[in-house]
Amino acid sequence: MTVTAVEKHPDTLSMTITAEFEAPPERVWQLWADPRQLERWWGPPIYPATVDSHDLRPGGRVEYHMTGPEGDQPRGYWDIVMADPPRSLVFRDGFANEDGTPNTDLPDTESRVTIEQVGDGRTRMSLESVFPSAEAMEQILAMGVEDGFKQAIGQIDAILAEDQVAQA
């Protein structure tokens, strides 16, 4: 199991997820710092992400878009608050208009990433996200919900397969 802990606080609308990887911290940092790697994990498989610009320095911005199955292209950006390679990254994750400018009608999410070596080539990464409102959360989930959908289909397939075995 890669994910080692999840803490959720419905009262303060925050979540911390912790994972461990079989790699040094520099390698885990590359997942964030290399735009070509970032776009391979940020979007769900049926909403792949394309990074349009990438400046991971404090005050810098990362701009991306995702491409959906219907050709829809939701856009987003990160405003980098703090970056200390390969240890920590703080950014505000927001939604962008079609022209790439920040959509100020929607609130953003603050995310804090902490990366630390835990010995023997293993690295712990924790991500804390704080949501300002349900609206922000709904929007974020609307972009990521396809994952859950795919999982649900996988579960249905598994159940159907079991039924067939039972009937045979």
Binding site: F21, R27, L141
Partner: protein
Amino acid sequence: MATALDMDRVFAALADATRRDIVVRAIAGGEGVAELASHYPMSFAAVQKHVAVLERAGVVTKQRFGRRKVVRTDIEGLRVAQRLLDRYEELWRGRIDRMTVLIQDIRDTKEAKP
């Protein structure tokens, strides 16, 4: 199932520290608005307003016990917030799974090279 409107109300209701404190106190469900008000350096009317916001969001309900009305936390309201966080957790579990595969892929490629 709660609607999106309900969720917005729940989150707006819980965005305030005093209201969160009221929610915690009202889990026991033994106090009325007057008793709750005695815990805070604000007027009865102000506390009554906070309770009303929580009530509209469905986070607390007022229940009658004999002649008294007590404020009680409705756990279902908090469950809505919990469900949203559950979905966010799934989103990040998916991302972390892809990170793990990516680290493994690139290491395999390097090791395959002579």
